[in-house]
């Protein structure tokens, strides 16, 4: 029989039976009996019956599925049966790829495979590498303090040059205080979790580098991405998150951006960001790794570039391994921001401090920047020469800002897969290095990196590059690109 017909008919027959039973109960003689002058109505009988049923049900044990834990033997078997994946995936050709080994300092000109090449692969923006002043300060520091600091900052790893360096950076940027980290990469992923906790709201550019991504992940905050360097997208995102979230006003809210994006070379429009930030009452966390010492009239970074007072930005971080030609990183901001990190920032508390000679190098580098503003002008000119020189390149297009010393070339038409794109670009870079002795690199991407911007050729311009170096780079890239992309 059809189920659809069967169910209602079964139900009606059940109902019918029940009614019959009840009428029968009413009709049986003792249901109408009168005991001690009280009429025992049929309903009383039914209620009594129900009560009995309830009591019966309550007296029963509730049903529990029998628990049978695994026996020792079963666990043994399971453990024997379990086959783990191998620790690493099988090694492919691209993993075996060797990187060029430098036989001299990574200055504007370096030696690879015994051949002198022009180096566009080091973010030695101001050409401070090899500066006599830096060398002297490093040497005297090495002689005085040795190499390592042999301890975290809390435990006798604070050397006086660390304090001097912190003061110098704060003084240079015009912020109240700053804090040194022993590694550029750890700066962001330690500073972000110190200020963002579960529940906080972070609006972040989708093109940020892995250090920031990792910091965001570790903070466990609510993360909302906006389109890469797109202020309209930022505004709509801010509008959306503040409207959607009624509690948003009580949360800590941040906008996280990079000044010059490592992954695209674009410059964040800080003036617009500041307007939006003030409108929606967000705090700004700015990574100046590629702009500190580079942008602005005197190298004070993005804030100077856009004539924005530095105290509008709550937290600024930067790596010292680029323009300062040292290593490590710093975070700067108000006293509150800095001092909070001294006990809450994991990369600061749980790591050995920066080797003192690198702190001395950073101090000396800032001195050099202050004394030689022409380096910054030179760098800007060089960046523009290279960027404009590369404009008509075949098969590639300029993704970076014309002011940015990090020149980023991406494919005009992607092959559709990141791997093949990268392969293509690496072939190009290899040929440029081999045939023209110009050292440029591709933006390789780790498997854990969630950035989805296109990969490209990354060229770091330095103030130490001569005009002929730049011309050589432009020409060689153009010739190789022309032979590779014959369309």
């Amino acid at each position: 029989m059809d189920l659809a017909n069967y169910v209602p008919s079964a139900f009606t027959s059940l109902l019918k039976n029940a009614t019959e039973l009840i009428t029968f109960a009413y009709d049986v003689p003792f249901a109408r009996a009168v005991v001690f002058g009280v009429h025992i109505g049929g309903h009383l009988f039914v209620e009594g019956l129900l009560l009995v049923v309830i009591i019966f049900l309550l007296s029963q044990k509730s049903y529990k599925p029998p628990k049978r834990p695994l026996t020792k033997k079963e666990i043994d078997e399971l453990c024997d049966e379990w086959v783990p994946e191998s620790l690493i995936p099988p090694v492919t050709e691209e993993m075996k790829r060797e990187v060029p080994v430098l036989l001299s300092a990574a200055g504007p000109h370096t030696i690879i495979n015994g051949k002198k090449v022009v180096n566009f692969a080091s973010a030695n923006y101001l050409g401070l590498m090899g500066y006599e002043k830096l060398l002297d300060s490093c040497t005297s520091s090495l002689e005085k303090y040795g190499v390592g600091s042999c301890g975290p900052r809390q435990f006798y790893g604070t050397i006086d040059v660390h304090l001097d360096c912190e003061t110098r950076i704060a003084e240079f940027l015009g912020t109240p205080d700053s804090i040194l980290y022993s590694y550029g990469l750890s700066t962001m992923f330690s500073a972000i979790p110190a200020f963002c906790k579960k529940g906080d709201l972070i609006v972040v550019d989708e093109g940020v580098h892995w250090g920031i991504q990792n910091g965001l992940y570790l903070s466990r905050s609510t993360i909302v991405y906006f389109k890469h360097n797109d202020m309209q997208s930022l505004q709509s995102t801010l509008e959306k998150v503040t409207q959607d979230n009624k509690r948003a006003k009580k949360l800590r809210r941040y906008i996280v951006v990079e000044a010059v994006y490592q992954n695209s070379g674009q410059i964040a429009p800080l003036d617009e960001i500041i307007q939006l930030k003030e409108k929606y009452k967000f705090r700004v966390l700015l990574d100046e790794s590629n702009s500190f010492g580079v942008l602005g009239k005197s190298g004070r970074g993005l804030t100077e570039h856009f004539h924005v007072p530095v105290d509008k930005i709550d937290i600024i971080t930067a790596a010292m391994g680029h323009a300062l030609a040292s290593e490590g990183g710093f975070c700067t901001g108000s006293h509150r921001v800095v001092d909070h990190q001294r006990l809450s920032s994991s990369g600061y508390v749980f790591s050995a401090s920066l080797p003192p000679y690198l702190a001395s190098a950073a101090i000396a580098a800032i001195d050099v920047i202050e004394e030689n503003p022409q380096l910054i002008t030179k760098l800007r000119d060089n960046s523009q020469i290279l960027s404009t020189g590369l404009l008509g390149i075949q098969g590639l297009e300029l993704a970076s800002d014309i002011m940015s010393p990090l020149v980023f070339l991406r494919l005009k038409t992607s092959t559709g897969s990141l791997k093949r794109d990268l392969q293509l670009l690496e072939d190009l870079a290899d040929r440029v290095l081999k045939e023209h002795s110009v050292f440029v690199t591709t933006s390789k991407r780790s498997i854990v990196d969630k950035c989805n911007l296109p990969v490209g050729i990354r060229i770091y311009v330095s103030a130490a590059h001569t005009e002929s170096d730049l011309q050589k780079a432009c020409e060689s890239l153009k010739t190789v690109a022309a032979s590779l992309f014959t369309d």
């Binding site: 040795g146 604070t158 909070h340």
Partner: protein, 573 residues
């Protein structure tokens, strides 16, 4: 497992409560007075306060009061003796004024030029390579001139110099693995490598006292994390069995892979990892072993090759060996060593290799040179001497401390030793008294340790001489602050009116004659502290519950037992 006397736990909690109450009072009043301060202005404008909650409260109201005991700047290399720069506070550390406003209160506004020469018992300068070295320093300066201080570039771009290749070979050879990868910072090594090795569907079984970098790396990986009791192979086995049998949570799919993460020497305890047992368990259950040798590489083992050498474990059994150069080698950076394929894979995928500036060349040279010294390749026997010296120094100092009556954590041969202080108020007192007597000792409280387990930590160096280590002043400080926990205070609690004569040695005698047997919760400490069971009150901090169990069992030779025990449970909080 650290046990804490009941009374001490109570007083420690009491001092926290006291600090908390006064802190709250201060917060209340400062909120009234400081409404005009910039941070408060921001809040009134509609921003949530940038520093929130108990963490911020702890820093402002508890840490700041004693901050002179931390982050003391030094103006010399972190060698056997250091120049500690004296700092002054214009406001007696209390400072309604400094909190959040004008002068930087981390070093109190101004630095004096006065220094005091102190014995360095705090730095991780195990082999004495921190200061300028006759062999290393000239080579380091040479490298500086050749390669400069930094490369301004990542390893895959223009940051791999010939020095880096040489270093990787030297490190692989030193630790006894086919290949190695070097990064610029130890912390980053852990936190960037774990995420590429394991991800969702994987299981990380981590020792409960693992370093923060491992915790961060594990969290960053997205794998499931389970913790096993500190250095307890049996519990590791239990956890592994339970999880392999149970599979992934909810889906019960089998795990993709399991990585067991341990440390060679636990830096806050000074204990060696029970590596042979753990490695055999890993083998049995097909889990990969990951060992962080931050403190042990270079410092222990006959030729300085770390705990594998010391405990006789084949390095092939440890799949991933990680370590740092900022300790024994007196440099900076970290490494990971493993099979050739592993390193190839890491070089292709590890963010620390792809995105971070490469290790500074002079630092790389320092490591190469110091490895050469350790292995005797510099043509002298200085390396062997250093290794013998650190071993001798550590064992001597440990036994001295034990003789004095301190409760010392850690194993013999380990250069790291922790003196349990427990009481939060005693920490700064101990630190200040030590500094007054020209001893630079590190005291660690929360958040470095659990709330109740504040301690002083001593790191011995090969640069220390025997005369340096003859320290009587420590014992006078300890008497002053009643730190002899391994005897007196434990006993004092058990025996309401202890006569002064009834001390540690009496206890020993007593235990000999009565054969004191602790209950099932036997301390996992070394033997001297095992005998302190008469005051055994032990505490499980993680449950915020004091479970006190003292059982005194009279056990004559004929083994007819008479026992009495009592059990007491106190709930705090």
């Amino acid at each position: 497992m650290i046990t804490i006397p009941y009374l001490t736990a109570l007083t420690t909690y009491f001092s926290y409560v006291l600090l908390f109450v006064f802190g709250q009072l201060r917060d209340f009043s400062s909120n009234l007075i400081d409404w005009w301060k910039p941070s408060n202005v921001q809040v009134r404008q509609g921003y949530a306060p940038i520093c929130l909650g108990l963490e911020d409260f702890y820093i402002r109201r508890i840490f700041l009061r004693v901050q002179d005991c931390f982050q003391q700047p030094i103006s010399s290399p972190p060698d056997a003796w250091i120049d500690v720069v004296e700092r002054v506070s214009n406001d007696n550390n209390k400072t309604l004024k400094t909190l959040g406003s004008v002068p930087s209160f981390i070093y109190f506004g101004r630095r004096t030029t006065k220094v005091s020469r102190c014995l360095n018992l705090g730095s991780y300068n195990y082999l004495g390579f921190a200061a300028a070295d006759e062999y290393c320093t000239p080579r380091v300066i040479q490298s500086l001139k050749k390669y400069f201080a930094g490369t301004c570039s990542t390893r895959v771009e223009g940051g791999t110099t010939a020095l880096h290749s040489e270093l990787e070979e030297a490190v692989a050879n030193f630790v006894g693995k086919p290949a190695a990868l070097v990064t610029g910072m130890g912390y980053v090594t852990n936190s960037a490598i774990l995420p590429v090795l394991i991800g969702k569907g994987g299981l990380i079984v981590s020792d409960s006292l693992n370093h923060n970098s491992i915790v961060n790396g594990a969290r960053g990986s997205g794998a499931t994390i389970r913790v096993f009791q500190h250095n307890t192979p049996s519990h590791l086995e239990k956890v592994l069995r339970e999880h392999i049998a149970g599979g992934q949570p909810r889906t019960h799919k089998p795990w993709k892979k399991i990585i067991v993460v341990v440390e060679g020497i636990y830096s806050m305890e000074g204990e060696f990892c029970k590596l042979p047992e753990i490695v055999s368990i890993c083998k049995k259950y097909k889990a990969y072993a990951y060992m962080d040798e931050a403190h042990s590489i270079g410092a222990v083992g006959k030729t300085g090759r770390g705990v594998c050498e010391l405990l006789g474990v084949d390095t092939a059994d440890v799949d991933i060996m990680m370590g740092t150069f900022s300790k024994s080698f007196g440099s900076c950076g970290g490494y990971v060593a493993g099979s050739k394929e592993l390193i190839q894979y890491l070089k292709y995928s590890c963010p620390a290799h792809l995105y971070a500036t490469s290790l500074s060349p002079p630092a790389a040279q320092q490591i190469i040179s110091s490895i050469k010294v350790i292995l005797g390749e510099d043509g002298s026997s200085r390396g062997a001497q250093k290794l013998a010296q650190i071993r001798e120094n550590s064992n001597y100092f440990r036994s001295e401390l034990q003789k004095m009556g301190f409760e010392v954590l850690g194993d013999n041969d380990s250069p790291v030793m922790s003196l349990m202080v427990y009481n939060v108020a005693k920490l700064p007192a101990f630190s200040r008294e030590c500094l007054k007597r020209h001893l630079a000792v590190v005291t660690v409280g929360f958040p470095g340790t659990p709330l109740l387990l504040g301690r002083a930590r001593i790191c011995i160096s090969a640069a220390h001489t025997r005369e340096d280590l003859n320290i009587d002043s420590l014992s006078s400080i300890a008497t002053k602050h009643r730190l002899f926990l391994s005897s007196a205070s434990a006993l004092r609690w058990h025996n309401p009116s202890p006569s002064s004569a009834f001390c540690w040695h009496d206890l020993k005698l007593l235990s000999k004659s009565f054969s004191l047997v602790p209950t099932s919760h036997v301390l996992a400490c070394s033997s001297p502290s095992n005998q302190q069971v008469i005051g055994l009150p032990r505490l499980k901090i993680n449950r915020v519950r004091l479970a006190l169990k003292v059982k005194l069992r009279y056990k004559p030779r004929d083994s007819s037992c008479f026992s009495f025990g009592f059990l007491m449970k106190t709930y705090i909080l």
